[in-house]
């Protein structure tokens, strides 16, 4: 793939990282809600 198609240069692992952090943040927010409610 070329360097401008948006899918290489290590970007795939960054997207996976974003999704992992996203799920972790949502779980943390849910935990905060449960703890303080």
């Amino acid at each position: 793939m070329s360097s401008t198609d948006g899918r290489n240069d290590g970007m795939t692992s960054r997207y996976v990282g974003v999704l992992v952090v996203w799920v972790a943040v949502l779980l943390a927010l849910y935990a905060v809600q449960q703890y303080f409610s």
């Binding site: 401008t4 948006g6 970007m11 960054r14 997207y15 974003v18 927010l29 809600q33």
Partner: protein, 573 residues
Amino acid sequence: MRALDWAIVAAYLIWIVYDGLRLTKRSKEIDGYFRGNRSLPWWTVGLSVMATQLSAITMIGTTGQGYVNGMRFLQFYYALPLAMVVLCLTLVPFFHNANVYTAYEFLERRFDAKARAVTSFLFLLSRSMSLGVVISAPSVVLSVIFGMSLTSTVALVATPAAIYTMFGGVQAVAWTDVKQMVMIVGGLLTAVVVLVLGLPDGVGLGPALRLAGATGRMQTFDFTFDLTNQYTFWSGTIAALFLFCSYFGTDQSQVQRYLTTKSVKEAQTSLLMSAYWKIPLQALVLLVGVLLFLFYTFTPTPMLFNTIHERELRQGPKAQEYSALERRFEGATAARSAAATVAARADAGGQDADRTAAQQQFLAADTEVKAIRTEALALVRSTTGDQAYSDVNYVFPTFITTQLPIGVTGLLIAAIFAAAMSAISAELTSLSTATVMDFYRRFLRPDGDDASVLRVSRFATAFWAIFASAVAVWAAELGSLIEVVNRFGSFFYGSILGVFILAIGWKRATPNGAFVGLIAGMGSVAWFATYTKVAFLWHNLIGAVGVVVAGIVVSAIERAVRRGRSLDRPAAP
């Protein structure tokens, strides 16, 4: 505000304008002015994108929302990281590789000049009106807080950003945004520290937040599926995904920023910064609102936060009614404060039974306070005739100007100005770019040299600043117009996204298909907005789906008709 606070605000405004103007020398030609010579680092662009979204409305409106409703509004942003990944994989590489100045220029290459002109015109229309609201909301609040005329605060809010944007172009916008972002986050963190330190002795942060939780203010998830409810997990992850894809992927105020990076990878990395930080940052803003609620639970709180309306009621024909309400309010807030202290202490060390009973007592006292405040707001509504009246936007500014020590007040007011300027400058530069590149240079002077195009660009920036300021004064007078403008914008967002989905995702889409699809998408949103109670976040999804479905159908019919005509044509001898 005291003299030192005014001095801090004035020094900040002068410094930021000077800082923006320093970049004028890098904006002598079109590419430098509109795209920063495609040389800005990803972190500058990333911070600039985030600063643009943190407008003064966020600082005063969202903190007020946190005060009244708690953290629930956070759900609105849950889809943002997903939207960023989707855009990095789709639109960002297309825009960057197409070497365009505006998002709409891309549509001309894919469809025709009409598609470019119509979408760019819709952008100019909705963005210029919403810029008026972005200027109006803080100006109205600051005019009450400072005791100044609305025209003066509109000028104070809009002029600094207009000056550096006019001369420095997108580079000035992006680099000043970095400083504005530091100021905004610094201001918010300062507010959190002051509010936590302001809790009474013996009341810890944990028990205090549990009190907020008991009132529902720590709720960050609502899993009920209700299309009429704006803030649920489902509207925040499904409907908002379309809103964010449209806003970050097709709105010139965002697209222009990542066109300034030197490579696709840098553009993608800059967007991922928002994916990581937007939800925590928004949580911080809402947390300030929740802490304000706790602060005013333990400290005497005004019944109405807008002092002008409070004075009007005190001096008007309903003065007696208002005074009676005020006496009840003082008693109720004192009872709530006492109940909150008992509940927080019981939470820290008591038995479960004590804790539950104390919390119940606090909730009963809070309900009474809320009921009296509702009566007071109804009194304002009946006096002013404004049925949508609310004073939530005044909560944070009131706290800043009445409770903070000298110097810190100035710092936080400067942070509100920073938030206003970062949003205004981004919108101004995008309005100017779309006006010049999609209309002036495209239709009027295609062969204009850089100097003349730059002159027109600066004129366009000044024009939009004056136009939006006029809208700001007008919007403030009409009050409910702000909501009309927001709904007006939601007519376009999903539909414009639909046109881009057709452009990139459906190779057989024709220019006429895109045009009819756009009309159909906006028509569907208009129908849903008029005849149903579906929350406006879902309008983005409805608009996008409407455009794509109608666009595919019309394109297929057009192709079939063309095929039929070519078959009817007699074969060449």
